[in-house]
């Protein structure tokens, strides 16, 4: 399935990068403001779905670069990987660890295992929806 509307093509090309940037923004700020991995993943998925509606499934696969299933697996691996620091420290599973990296200009970058976990959620959600959408579209063609 693929649309031939010029308006949709043009709009998709402009909107999609914005959506993707917005999804990363939502993911990163999620710990303090509305957002997070789940919402970020959904926004990213809707970006790719928009692209898929405009250009079809094969270009979407190309622009995703990795297979949706691999994205899914990567998400789960990220989530599992976030348990490693707690495991090494002998703490209960998923105990959060925080690191603050000093940045030039006196501010700090907050890094943490919950962030790694959230990235995992992001990728898993994106992978799930893209698996649904791309395969449904392809089975139609």
């Amino acid at each position: 399935m693929k649309s031939n509307t010029l308006i949709l093509h043009t709009a998709a090309l402009f909107i999609m990068p914005l959506q993707l940037m917005f999804s990363v923004f939502l993911l990163l700020r999620g710990h303090d403001e509305p957002g997070g991995g789940f919402i970020g993943g959904l926004v990213a998925a809707s970006a790719f779905v928009l692209y898929a509606f405009a250009f079809g499934s094969e270009p979407t696969r190309r622009i995703l670069r990795v297979a949706p299933r691999d994205l899914l697996a990567a998400g789960l691996l990220f989530a599992i990987a976030s348990t490693i620091p707690a495991f090494l420290a002998g703490q209960p599973m998923l105990t959060a660890h925080w690191w603050e990296l000093p940045l030039p200009g006196g501010s700090y970058l907050k890094l943490s295992t919950p962030l790694i976990f959230d990235i995992g959620v992001y990728a898993a959600v994106l992978g799930t929806i893209m698996t649904f959408v791309i395969n449904l579209m392809e089975s139609e063609e």
């Binding site: 710990h31 919950p114 649904f132 089975s139």
Partner: protein, 768 residues
């Protein structure tokens, strides 16, 4: 100790690689492990003698109170030595017996795993790990019985063995959990050491019934005995090891282990005596009436298992001494006899005793070993079997309960077993030379060393009973009894009642044997007609019943109509929820609508209209779209009540859901109204009911609070503990991260499920 138990599993992993290196010496190579384990266990003997028992602890799941603790005392050491000692010879034997078999490596993998599981079972101190190892032995036994998996009969027998033993294992688990509640510990040694009067506990009857069901199925007690003879479909090394010397004794082991704790109740001792005696007699009778050499041995194993169970039930110090002696004697001679039977089968090409005869010239060494082992089976001096049998008679004569009945049953069984011993040692080797499918010759060295060593040990133990007694048997009797016991084993007791009973049973047994050829056909006829009503027929009826019920419930409940699934799920869920609400809480409606705004009413109206339209419209697209409106309405409510995270998520999910549904819609056929008006009204009624119950639930939840809300904890700690101001996100990725982890796994599984459904359908279309 941990290494000793697990080394079998480790070696199993590398066994196929080893097989490629060592080739035909694989049996000898692998036997090094059980041999060194035997030496290791033997080295523990002095410590057990000095301390009574050793408990070794390894943490496994400490949070659940499940540890991989090992309890080494006289009883477990006797078993461990039997498993590793006999295992050594079995591996050597199997290397020769199955030489050149294409699945030889696989055989050793399963065999070594079994050995490790069995060691784990007898050495574990924790009830849960006992259960785990118990089931592992059932599973490895299943794979070994069905080792010749191209043979349908073997597969059927394997499945039967698995159903009976694993089914019993599940009941056993219930029993072990009850036991742990009664004893307030999962540790066997703690339960044994505690002075709680378990037989007065409310759970005692239930626990005993469950544990005995497990032990009886595993140890092939009547009426579950039928799986054991069928298990003889396995290659002979398996029968010798699992189905005579070790695995079938697991049930006996557990009963002996628990005897100090549970043995004080009447139910325990009477059930054991009754079932044990029945099994003993049934086994002996069926052994005498069979013609296949492995079947004969299998039934005589059942007889031995019954005897052991009965002796635990009698429970006097003398009976427990007889128990340990009989246990050791039986493992020695039965292991040897099975290996001899395998050698006969291997060299003559038949398992049928009636077709063998006069083999003593062709197989002189085998003849000598068979005679030694059979003498022990028949309970004749100077073998260890004699001491065990004398003790058996003595303890039964001395039994506090049912002495006359038990002694009669035991003597009758002994008469038949003398006949059985003749069947396996005299029939094939003496008399006229019979034509066998293969020209017989002596078995290879690897197949004779095992039975020879075991028989010689039986002879040495018989001549010098103080050797095993001082080393281990006495402390083993002590562990079964729960308190130390002085034993006095001797070959010669003087002329007394047991000796007279022995001589009597020998004479009667020999005369039965002389008439065996004439008796056989009529016994066979009786057994065949009796089998129709036997427990095995019951097993088959039960299995057929399961298929019938499964077919029925698939037709009724799982008929593929999705609407029906949904209807049932909703009706049952809300029926139960509504019932609970009505009985526990009652209906309370306290609505305060004064504080509501017009736009809230507007949203509510929107939701209502969308819901009605979605269910009434005939257009699928319209339905999906109005579902979307419904979702957006809910999202609006979230935003109005200041839950922006939920609102955003809801909006996104709704958008994507509509897109997904639209994608699916294209594949569906034209909308056709298939349901009758009745069905539609029924569905409407159920849906309305669900809605009403849900509404009432929510209204009730406003008023009632069973627990203090956890929200305040999250609000207070999200900044300090979670380093974040967005509480929803902190809960998702930190406080309740494990839940989220589970959810994304479910999500991924759903994705893979959908993927496989789409792919499968797509491939179907390409089929010509």
């Amino acid at each position: 100790m941990l290494l000793a138990v697990l080394s079998g599993f480790l070696l199993a992993i590398v066994a196929p690689a080893l097989h490629r290196v060592t080739g035909r010496y694989i049996g000898w190579t692998l036997a090094i492990l059980p041999a060194s384990l035997t030496a290791y266990f033997a080295s523990l003997i002095p410590e057990v003698q000095a301390n009574g028992s050793i408990v070794l602890e390894y943490a496994w799941l400490p949070g659940l109170g499940i540890n991989l603790n090992f309890l080494v005392d006289g009883l477990s050491l006797v078993f461990a030595l039997m498993i590793s000692g006999i295992g050594t010879f079995i591996l050597i034997y199997a290397g020769a017996y199955l030489a050149g078999h294409k699945y030889l490596a696989r055989f050793f993998v399963i065999m070594l795993s079994f050995m490790a599981s069995m060691l784990g079972l007898v050495l574990s101190d924790n009830l849960i790990s006992i259960f785990v190892f118990w089931e592992l032995t059932s599973i490895t036994s299943y794979m070994l019985i069905g080792f010749n998996h191209e043979d349908m009969e073997a597969r059927k027998c394997a499945l039967q063995g698995l159903f009976v033993t694993a089914g019993g294992g599940l009941v056993l688990m219930a029993g072990l959990i009850l036991l742990s509640i009664m004893g307030d510990s999962y540790s066997m040694s703690e339960i044994l050491a505690s002075d709680l009067a378990l037989h007065q506990h409310a759970f005692y009857t239930g626990a005993v019934i469950c544990i005995l069901a497990g032990c009886f199925t595993k140890s092939a007690q009547v009426p579950f005995h039928f799986w054991l003879p069928n298990a003889m479909a396995a290659p002979t090394p398996v029968s010798a090891f699992l189905h005579s010397a070790t695995m079938v004794k697991a049930g006996v082991y557990l009963m002996a282990r628990l005897n100090p704790s549970l043995g004080e109740g009447e139910l325990w001792s009477q059930a054991l005596m009754l079932f044990g005696a029945a099994t003993m007699f049934t086994g002996a009778y069926l052994a005498f009436s069979s013609t296949g050499i492995k079947k004969v041995l299998a039934y005589s194993t059942i007889m031995a298992l019954g005897t052991l169970t009965m002796l635990i039930g009698v429970g006097t110090e003398l009976a427990l001494t007889a128990f340990i002696c009989f246990l050791v004697a039986h493992s020695l001679y039965k292991g040897a006899l099975f290996m001899i039977a395998g050698a006969l089968d291997h060299e003559t090409g038949t398992k049928d005793i009636t077709r063998m005869g006069g083999l003593r010239r062709a197989m002189p060494v085998t003849t000598v070993i068979a005679c030694l082992a059979a003498l022990s089976l028949a309970g004749l001096p100077p073998l260890f079997g004699f001491i065990a049998k004398e003790l058996l008679f003595e303890s039964l004569l001395d039994s506090p309960l049912w002495s006359a009945g038990l002694t009669t049953a035991a003597v009758a069984a002994a008469v038949l077993i003398v006949g059985v011993a003749g069947l396996v040692a005299i029939k094939p080797f003496f008399g006229k030379v019979a034509n066998t499918p293969k020209t017989p010759h002596e078995a290879p060295f690897g197949m004779l060393v095992g039975p020879a060593v075991l028989s010689v040990i039986a002879l040495v133990f018989g001549l010098a009973p103080f050797l095993p007694e001082g080393a281990l048997l006495q402390s083993a009797v002590g562990s079964v009894n729960g308190a130390a016991v002085e034993t006095h084993l001797a070959l010669w007791h003087g002329v007394n009642v047991p000796l007279i009973l022995s001589i009597g049973s020998l004479v009667l047994g020999l005369s039965l044997l002389a008439g065996w050829n004439r008796l056989q056909p009529s016994i066979y006829a009786i057994n065949t007609s009796a089998a129709r009503f036997g427990p095995e027929a019951g097993y088959f009826r039960f299995m057929e019943g399961i298929t019938v019920v499964a077919a029925w419930q698939t037709r009724v409940l799982q008929n593929g109509v999705l609407g029906l699934y949904l209807l049932l799920l909703v009706a049952v869920t809300f029926g139960l929820a509504g019932y609970t609400l009505l009985t526990k809480q009652g209906i309370t409606v306290s609505l305060d609508l004064t504080d509501s705004h017009f736009y809230e009413w507007g949203i509510a109206l929107l939701l209502l209209v969308a819901a009605v339209f979605a269910s009434a419209t005939h257009s699928r697209l319209g339905s999906v779209a109005s579902m979307g409106v419904l979702g957006f309405g809910v999202a609006l409510t979230f935003i109005l009540f200041s839950a922006p995270d939920l609102g955003i998520t809801q909006l996104l999910v709704e958008t994507l859901t509509v897109i997904l549904l639209v994608l699916v819609l294209f594949k569906l056929p034209e909308f056709v109204n298939l349901s009758s008006p009745f069905e539609r009204y029924r569905d409407l009624a159920v849906a309305t009911f669900a809605g009403v119950v849900m509404t009432l639930l929510i209204l009730a939840a406003l008023d009632v609070q069973y627990f203090e809300s956890i929200s305040s904890y999250y609000i207070e700690n999200s900044g300090t503990l979670g380093h974040g101001r967005n509480i929803v996100n902190v809960i998702l990725v930190d406080f309740r991260a494990l839940d989220t982890l589970g959810e994304i796994f479910v999500l991924s599984l759903a994705a893979l499920g959908v993927l496989s459904m789409i792919k499968l359908r797509a491939e179907d279309q390409y089929k010509p």
